[in-house]
Amino acid sequence: MSMMIALALTAGMPVDLGYAQIPDATKEAQAAELMAELRCLVCQGQSIHDSDVDMAADMRRVVRQKIAAGEKPSEVRAWLIERYGSYVTYDPPLSWATAPLWLAPLLLLAAGLWLARGSLRRRRRA
């Protein structure tokens, strides 16, 4: 891939960020982390980082172009959520709809502790 970029640079051709990395490694790392948690809208269930359909490449291009232009990953994610809703990310923001996902484990843990406490106390008495 880096050879492709080198070739494109020497040939004076613009790099297609849908298929090639951002030359700046720090920015590419930020983009890669974000792309791994963005849903491919055509092949739902895959991330745009994993998918090979054209639409995923088009979304990667948008993400990389924005990050290469200096936007923060959180801003790019917010831009996409503004257009597609939280379904577009695999790391949805906390909202009324997603709150049970975060709260249910805590509630179940509390219920488990309460049950354990009850049975331990009974055993001690016996």
Partner: protein, 175 residues
């Protein structure tokens, strides 16, 4: 421990089975709607794809009169299926503009010659940039745009015969 508490796990399990079963019988809708419905179209300007037809920018869609914005491609099979319905809408006096996704002039010219040409303008979006910026996730999709350039409604997938009255009503409501 109270006796009835013993039934709680079974009841919870039955609930889970009911939820999973109902989703198996009626799978959830997987279409991704644009979150921009009710909001203004973002600013964009697309070059023409065909020499004989103008390109498309945001200003062309805010003309005081509701219109349709069709996102299509010559390589898209359902776009062929909806072509006759778009011709019907055009015959009913509806203004239809288009964004052609990842397409070439030759292919679109052949597509329009074969399936009819309902479009006043066609903007070329070779890398889906504008498609993504309006929250569209595939082809074909049709947006109802009100006179101020706001997205009033979105139709996902091909327009079938029964969708034509719905779109005409959405255009009327967007007035």
């Amino acid at each position: 421990m109270k006796r009835w508490l013993l039934w709680v796990p079974l009841i919870v399990f039955a609930g889970l089975v009911a939820v999973a079963g109902s989703r198996l019988i009626a799978p959830p809708d997987t279409v991704v709607k644009s979150a921009l419905i009710g909001k203004p179209l973002p600013d964009f300007a697309l070059a023409p794809l065909l020499p004989a037809k103008p390109g498309l920018d945001r200003g062309d869609l805010a003309t005081g009169k509701p219109r349709l914005l069709n996102v299509f491609a010559s390589w898209c099979v359902p776009c062929i299926a909806e072509a006759p319905q778009l011709m019907k809408l055009k015959a009913a006096g509806v203004q239809i503009d288009a964004i052609a996704i990842r397409d070439t002039p030759q292919a679109v010219a052949a597509f329009l010659a074969r399936h009819g040409d309902p479009y006043a303008r066609i903007g070329s979006d070779p890398q889906s940039q504008v498609q993504i910026s309006i929250g569209s996730s595939g082809v074909p999709e049709t947006f109802v745009i009100d006179g101020q350039g706001r997205i009033a409604a979105q139709h996902i997938g091909d327009i079938r015969e029964e969708d034509v009255p719905k779109l005409l009503k959405a255009l009327e409501d967007a007035r």
